[in-house]
Amino acid sequence: MKKIICYLLIIMILTGFAFGQTEMAKSPGSKIIDSLTIGKIELAIPEVGKEVERVTIDNGIVLYLYQSNKLPIFNLSATIRCGGIFDPFEKNGLSGIVGTVLRTGGSKTITGDSLNIIMEFMGGSLETWISDERGSASLSVMSKDIDLGLQLFADLIRNPAFPQDKLDLAKADIKNGIKRRDDSPNSVVGRYFANTIYGDHPYGRILEWESVKGITPQDLIDYHQRYFVPNNIMIAISGDFDKAGIIEKIKKYFGDWQKSDQPLPPYPEVKTEYHPGVYQVWKDINQAYMKIGHLGIKRDNPDRYAIQLVNYILGGGSFTSRLTSRVRSDEGLAYHVSSSFYTGGRDLGAFGAECQTKSATAYKATKLITDEIKRIRDESVTEDELEDARDATINRLVFEFDSPHKIVTALTNLEYDGYPMDYYNGHFDRFRKITRDDIKRVAQKYLQPDKLTYIIVGKPETFEKPLDEFGKVTNIQIAPPVIE
């Protein structure tokens, strides 16, 4: 069995810097590095109206197009405004099932099994899935198969069949997932963290068989009718095609699809409540898996750029972040330690630091992480730390646009998530103007050590010291999942 073990298991979105370098003499090699890093890093930010075209079809479908004829490849990604966030509590899991059965069930004219045969034979793919706040449908074919691909894609998205047998298969998969959810400590820690922070809000709900088992084909049909309407869909297309021709084809396959005037349901709001304390979940493992955090910010918060840098310096910047430097590099306590300030959703995200350490150092790691969260509030970061965080954040932007499909989806996502279309153009200035004082101010405002929730999975009786100094301890015994 081939095994590949990486130096760093998880490549974080933002990734390093060195703490305390200002006080230290530089390395002899740093002069050579300076001489090799003089050239400005070239960055062409794609823009609507230039490389990328934005077109609205009469029925409301928004198209983003980027033509690139270098390779005979055609890629399409559709985004549908829907998601688990709208699932009623008693039908939790419905969105995910719709996303699965939409594809496996096929359309009213072509079965899912036939679709499998056609797509796999042409070496293409057509997939659909729905997450918390986004429905997605993708088509990838060689450019010689564009017509057939588009025809199948449109037919599936517009006329899905949702047959009982494929619904049953999707439910069996969910049942299996629920049955196995405690097999890995990672999934346990993630589940308890989200649920403790968000409670029964869709961001924190635990998927149970109870809400899934009663879902019927009619639920899926109703869902599709409500959300899969042209004025609720954006389509990003890249690759080897002729721009004018492809717009005509989209009109041909989607043009007679009728708009809907039914508004989206209201978004359930995250309650601004905190649940500080130490929650110990007992599991028979030789490490403590921990996640420590609290509610975060909304993505339209003007402080989010400064927060992004705070997080980079604290634990988002992988190796040389303060957490990795202290917990991993200095003390050898963990393979992986990091922090994140999630802003992917439209409501309040979460701040969280995570780490796995042997049981005998559970207290020590918890203490080091807590201290670092406090320290970035209490002391200013150094100019070097800030500079590193800014450079890394700005200079990696070129990789957001290094393939045709990344270019076109980057711009589509801006519109979907409600960012200004010149978001990337302003990136440089936004990060450049952030000062050490800004960092301290936002760290103090958005990191709240007295409100931290500590989820610790492991065997507390084997920790070197109790964790009660971090908050009131609640012991949790995992109940076996109910799948009857």
Partner: protein
Amino acid sequence: MHKRLFLPLAAILLIAAFTVQAQTGEIKLDAKKQTLSNGMRVLVLENHSAPVFSGMIRFNTGSVDERPGITGISHLLEHMLFKGTKIIGTNNYKAEAPLMHKIDSLAHLFRSEQEKLSNPLNLQDSTRLKELRQQMADVQSEQKKYVVKDELWDTYLNNGGTSLNASTGNDGTQYYVSLPKNRLGLWAFLEADRLANLILREFYSERDVVMEERRLSENNPWGKLDEALSATTYWSTPYKWPVLGWMSDIQTVTREEVEAYFKSHYSPSNAVAVIVGDVNAEEVFKICEENFGKIPAQPLPPPVITRDAPQEGERRIEIEHTSNPMAFIAWKIPQIGHPDLPALEVAANILSNGRTSRFYKNIKVKKLGDVWAYAENARYPGTFVCSATPMPDHSITELETAIYAEIDRLKSESVTDWELEKVRNQVDASFIRSLESNMGLCWRLAGSEAVTGNWHHFIDHQMAVKKVTADDIMRVVNKYLIKKNRSVAYIVKTEESKSQPAYPKEG
């Protein structure tokens, strides 16, 4: 809405015509190769579609090159290549060198003490061990004032580096990063410097990190199962231990042992550097000669001699674990380059790739479980592996029976022309898609060149896959995928340990 009703057959004919039309050319890739004066090979593939490049250095050294006592050393060495050199990661190498020697001496005393304590005939008093550990920690913190933390990592990130990492496998170790195009000189300097001037700084805390990494795998049921499978499948070949190594070996290996391994295994002639992206090949060769060419040539490390004798019966290993049941099944197959491998790969593809695969149609759709098959292309004789996860209400035994039924069917019935044609189309399509990823191409080129000495091998292999016939498949399945030749590792669920304290139930 279109009214045309597609039937599978109609679709096949329609698409087959297209496919034949498109299949006029052989798969081609215009990579350039040059060997430096010290034997290091450099491969370049120009791709000017974005102003970036990916770089990878691969050594033909992995856990298969280890021996008992130093298992996991390839992987630990990989970690150490991020710890700096004589000029990077330090502000005063001369001043820290004596401290590192001091740590080394303490580490030797520590190791003797560990050995003493591992023998029950000796007095079980760990006082001295604790003292030594403290002394090591004290010198380590003294050294800290000379350490510039993670300077290589830092420099790459500040210059826009992404996909930055390294990894170790059974067969090889690779170091990689993607950078903006005008950072090629920086890449060559940093990579050559860590090969020429490596210092194994902060070794003992990094060894602790690797022990934590091992524990992560111990707490993951697939990790446990994988380890059990290798140890059961291989009685002799050094594929028998995990890439991470055995805990006993990691916790006793010394800095000097890792250094010696580095010197014997990281010879320039044992390395391949690959650059794919917006670069000029001639310029890359020049920069590589300037930077890597300075590293002195040295002999190749010894080849791996030990092989397993032919297996003479099914082997089964059971692991009791709190997780739900799952299993691995492995059949021994030949090594890379053997003419039977393409047919085994096609068999794996027909069995498990996609929703038209046999496992999906006959096992998954019947809600028995998830099964996945894979034929290795390994440096030494490897395995054809199936992983199996039963769905609720089904056992490992039921799933195994269903898997063997599918394999037996391959032994007696020819696969269809449609299945073979599908595989051929997928080879072409996935090859074209692969051209979009600089890093993906680095993996293929580096792996092919390091293991076979011929970067073109992966393309030759794909061409051979396209030529596989139904008879080839029937022959290789009958030859290798037989009971006598297989090993099965599976998890049997146990309740969470009895030692669990009586906490109130949740909810």
